[in-house]
Amino acid sequence: MHNTFYICRRELTSFFFSPVAYVILAAWTVLMGIFYSGAFLSYAVVSMQLARNPQAAAQYNITPTSAVLEPVFSSVTVILLFVAPLLTMRLFSEEKKQGTIELMLTFPLRNGQMFAGKYLSVLSIYLIMLAITLVYPIILSTFVKVDWSIVSSAYLGMILAGMAFLSVGLLASSWTSNQIVAAMIAFMILLATFLMEALAIAASEPLSSILRHLSVGMHMRNFIRGIIDTRDIIYLININILCGFLVLRSLEYYRWRG
């Protein structure tokens, strides 16, 4: 526990020492702002039109939460596709490249503690990024009524999906000493999980259902709509467990190969 905390703290210090951190945080804030203001402005237009046409309003049942926040939350998953590999790429590959992993592996430290420390560091960065986006539902709630139960379900989903994405990124980073390669591998894997849904449409049963259940997008959609399904939670947590296990194997392999 003690060691995990110090590794996490060291990683955070290193992260905020590099300009990459500020570029990622700035890009994230700007992109989220664009998504939010776009959704907000189009909702303003739509709600104005619907106000003149009560029949259509009753038919579409558009709420501020579904019209403004759902698209914003959906875009988080997409942006995460790029951001997760960037956040995690250096965690193991940099240590391999600099050789510092040799020292780390001779400290009285379990591989699991090293993984946990690095995972927690990048998770806390992600949570900070998510916390920034909390400002949007808060701004929205000053104008209209926001359905906070949907918002909290969506945040639970985003946290779980983020954890899964980050663990994939860590895994890719443990495979190589090149940060760019690590980021590319992680991006490919994450993209593949996204594209599975598109493949599912073309495929026949039972492959179609399997692909759909493997895709992150499908599991995310429930959370964003306010549905908390244990299947989705277990799916996303399983990705963490699988990746964690493979990272430990990868470190073990690294020791053996020398």
Binding site: Q98, L105, P108, R255, G258
Partner: protein, 321 residues
């Protein structure tokens, strides 16, 4: 304190080390010698628990490294050959991190950090980024890192490589000071360093132990013959003939003559007896004027070269057979 038994490590099909066994007593400084790629780093990495061996066992502080790596690693300070450091940390923050990794906390950690900052001469740079330090200072940080928890066993892989001569002396003095009652394994291919610092050496070549023992005994064993260099002004042939008559002399070699008819000889003699005065007498008998006489000592370099090239000869013989 440190024990290695029948250690073998393969890298794929390549042999890293083969059947290595040695022992280091408490408080002893062992020099680990060998050409590049001989297997020094491999052995050290196995001792530190960084890398498991294919067969054999290693004990550090009498703890089996494979069975309880964490316990063994607590008693260990390690400076890898490449001296990897986090460039983006300050010296103090880095030492604090390493101390925490080694399980130190609270006042003990603080005291440990202050102690190594002092003993490694790092107080002035404690708040500077490691990335901005000179190579000599980085090497000190590496040493400080290895010693922050005051471990009974220190393993230093080429601690002076890549430093300038002044820095080498600095680091060497530091190591001599820090020896104390620690058990220390030091790998190097700078041979004078071994003479100055180590009690005993293990020479490793092609993954095997080629020679082992205290420096003097190793040298004495190898030094069955003695070599003396003599320079004298006179008739070279007469000088040479007279010297050959001295008992024990096996061969006299004329190395060359310089201006003023000064001839330089190398005299090879059997046995360890000092025959210098007899040779001087021989020079006078040949009516020569002695200008220089010097007993050639078998240096560690000679020893090292003999072992390494001798092994090669053995290999060739086995190939031929």
């Amino acid at each position: 304190m440190i024990r290695v038994e029948n250690l073998t490590k393969y890298y794929g099909n390549l042999r890293g080390v083969t059947d290595i066994s040695f022992q280091v007593e408490e408080g002893e400084v062992l020099g680990f010698l060998g050409p590049n790629g001989a297997g020094k780093s491999t052995t050290m990495r196995i001792l530190t628990g960084y890398m498991p061996p294919n067969s054999g066992s290693a004990w550090v502080a009498d703890i089996n490294v494979s069975e309880s790596p964490l316990e063994a690693q607590k008693n260990l300070g390690y400076l890898p050959e490449t001296n990897p450091l986090y460039a983006e940390m300050t010296v103090r923050a880095y030492l604090n991190f390493v101390a925490s990794m080694k399980g130190m906390s609270g006042a003990g950690k603080e005291a440990g950090i202050r102690r190594v900052l002092g003993s490694c001469g790092l107080e002035d740079v404690a708040h500077r980024l490691i990335g901005n330090l000179s190579k000599g200072y980085r090497q000190r940080v590496g040493l400080a890192q290895a010693m922050v928890n005051d471990p009974p066993v220190l393993i230093l892989d080429e601690p002076t490589s890549g430093l300038d001569p002044a820095q080498i002396v600095e680091i060497r003095n530091l190591i001599t000071e820090l020896k104390g009652n620690r058990t220390l394994i030091l790998s190097t291919h700078i041979l004078p360093e071994v003479n100055m610092v180590c009690d005993r050496v293990v020479i490793i070549h092609r993954g095997r132990i080629a020679a082992e023992g205290a420096l003097d005994t190793l040298a004495a064993n190898m030094q069955a013959d003695s070599t003396i260099r003599i320079s004298a002004v006179g008739v070279a042939g007469a000088l040479s003939d007279k010297m050959k008559t001295v008992s024990g002399v096996e061969r006299v070699e004329l190395l060359g003559t310089s201006t003023g008819e000064e001839a330089h000889f190398e005299v090879h003699a059997r046995g360890g007896d000092d025959i210098r005065s007899n040779l001087v007498a021989a020079v006078f008998a040949a009516e020569g004027k002695l200008t220089e006489i010097r007993q050639m000592r078998l240096t560690l370099e000679d020893l090292f070269v003999r072992i390494v090239s001798g092994e090669q000869k053995d290999d060739e013989e086995t190939v031929n057979a």
